[in-house]
Amino acid sequence: MEREEWKRPSPRLRRVRHVEALVPTAVAALVALVLAFANAYVGIGAALVVLAAGFVLDTLLQRRVSAWGYLEREDDLLIQRGVMVRRLSVVPYGRMQFVDVTAGPIERSFGLATVRLHTAAAATDARIPGLEAAEAARLRDQLAALGESRAAGL
């Protein structure tokens, strides 16, 4: 395998993940605090548990952010991810059926997008989250062009 530079998602993906972990946690903790009006001990206890779970979730998500990486090779795209379960996917350009770029509300507010590659196989799970909008657009066009020139039938 030729040694090339693995690219990583934008550092802002960390902030996206913070928001994704902490906003639901905060909401759940508030609900738990409302419970405290009925029963102080149960309510505050529940809120603490929720907060603790939220911080664990956040650290897990943060660890995962740094595990993402992708490498554009001559004939295929490599994507690696995961901390606990480490995955490396090889998607040949000729096998791509289409590429889509999506951005959820949180991602969009940080100017990021997710690029997803689809092949005929349902098991192919190739996506790269947290790309700068410009990089996402470049990657999409690049992949589409490469896919067209190397297309192979089923």
Partner: protein, 414 residues
């Protein structure tokens, strides 16, 4: 035999299928009850007339013709659609005969098209006409003269109905059923009553399998393997050569004493639809619902000729991660095929032609990492089968991933 043709006039009735029987039943019961007034009677008759008229119109506006190199089908009254199927793109032609159609001597032709063409349906035609048209379309699709007779088939395997029955007795649904009966007599009806819906689903599943597997046979034809089966609804389907995405051989533990196995083939029908992002249907088809090892081998020789026999084993430490699977795990790959065996209770073997590999994945779970193991997945267009090289040595799996990527690329090019 050119110009426009219509389908058989009874087609709407057959297509409505079970609904017709249900309706007839409802009408029969209400009409027989004593309190039926004249108005009720008229309403029922009216409903029947309207439904019949709708069926008649749908028949009237549907027509087909062979137009040069295309099959054209026009249908619809208000929203007319005219479909054109290039004959050269025909991959295979299946014949389907539901129970009701068989009573009237009718058959449906299903033309599976290559590329993203989907399938053309001609439902229903007279039996004889369907057979003639099938031969004609096949000849035309290969660029031969349309009067070329259908090529001879060479029978490979015929499954005796007794074996199908026995294989179903020794299957999971029956085991569940037996468990239910035991439960009923030991714990009592109250507990068992709760499981009744499961029981119904079970019986339905058994019936479906029996219905599909009955009288199964496989023959070799120039365009691929022809499978025929069915008790009430009979189907004659073709597995086109070169469209096989993966092959799977399963030996359930209960069948082991008899040496029986099942052979499934994954055929990519249509590909992912851009417009509605829905995963289109790709079925796993049991080519051989229950057969002996020898029969399965015979079919494998046609489906994956010259495939290597898996003999590489995972390292001994993989025992800790997959204690039940370990003795079954083996794999091999060459320039054309990847083969892997696995299974905990059942024995499972999977063949994947490298030309059909869509993507490759190397997955390393927490336990695997501690043991320096990793699993390689070969993803194919089928949903259900994909060879997985489980619990390879970590370093070896990296090399194999590179080599497989390379080989799959080379296989695609040729």
């Amino acid at each position: 035999m050119s110009g426009w043709h219509r389908l058989h006039p009874l087609s709407p009735l057959v297509r409505a299928g079970r609904a017709v029987i249900a309706l007839a039943f409802i009408f029969a019961t209400t009409l027989r009850s004593s309190s039926t007034s004249g108005w009720d009677f008229a309403a029922h008759i009216g409903a029947i007339v309207v439904l019949a008229a709708l069926g008649f119109v749908s028949w009237l506006v549907t027509r087909w013709r062979i137009d040069g190199n295309d099959l054209r089908i026009e249908t619809g009254l208000l929203r007319r659609s005219s479909l054109r199927y290039p004959l050269s793109q025909i991959q295979a032609i299946d014949t389907v005969r539901p129970g009701l159609a068989r009573i009237f001597g009718l058959a449906e032709l299903r033309l599976r098209m290559g590329g993203t063409g989907g399938a053309a349906r001609l439902a229903y035609l007279k039996d004889a006409e369907a057979d003639k048209l099938r031969a004609r379309l096949l000849a035309l699709s290969q660029g031969a003269h349309e009067a070329t007779p259908e090529p001879r088939e060479h029978m490979l395997v015929r499954v005796p109905p007794g074996r199908v029955l026995a294989s179903l007795v020794l299957s999971m649904p029956t085991v569940v059923l037996a468990g239910y009966v035991v439960l009923f007599f030991t714990v009592g009806g109250a507990v068992a009553g709760g499981a009744f819906p499961i029981l119904l689903g079970d019986v339905a599943a058994l019936w479906r399998r029996f219905n599909r597997s009955y009288n199964a046979s496989v023959a070799e034809a120039p365009e691929g393997l022809r499978t025929r089966s069915g008790l009430v609804e009979t189907r004659a389907e073709t597995i086109p050569r070169g469209r096989v995405q993966a092959v799977q051989l399963v030996e359930p533990i209960l069948w082991r004493p008899f040496g029986w196995c099942r052979l499934d083939v994954d055929v990519a029908g249509r590909v992912h639809d851009r417009s509605d992002e829905r995963q289109t249907e790709r079925q796993l088809r049991p080519v051989l619902p229950v057969g002996t090892r020898r029969e399965a081998q015979q079919l494998l020789d046609v489906l994956v000729p010259g495939a290597p026999v898996p003999e590489r084993k995972p390292p001994r430490r993989a025992r800790w991660k997959s204690p039940l699977r370990y003795r079954r795990l083996a794999y091999v790959f060459d320039e054309t095929y990847a083969v892997a065996t696995s299974g905990r209770l059942a024995r499972v073997a999977a063949w994947v032609p490298l030309t059909k590999v869509q993507s490759l994945r190397r997955v390393e779970g927490p336990v695997q990492r501690r043991l320096a193991l990793a699993t390689l997945h070969l993803d194919t267009a089928g949903k259900n089968v994909g060879a997985a090289f489980r619990d390879l040595d970590g370093a070896e799996s990296r090399e194999d991933l590179d080599r497989l990527t390379e080989l799959a690329r080379a296989a695609r090019r040729t």
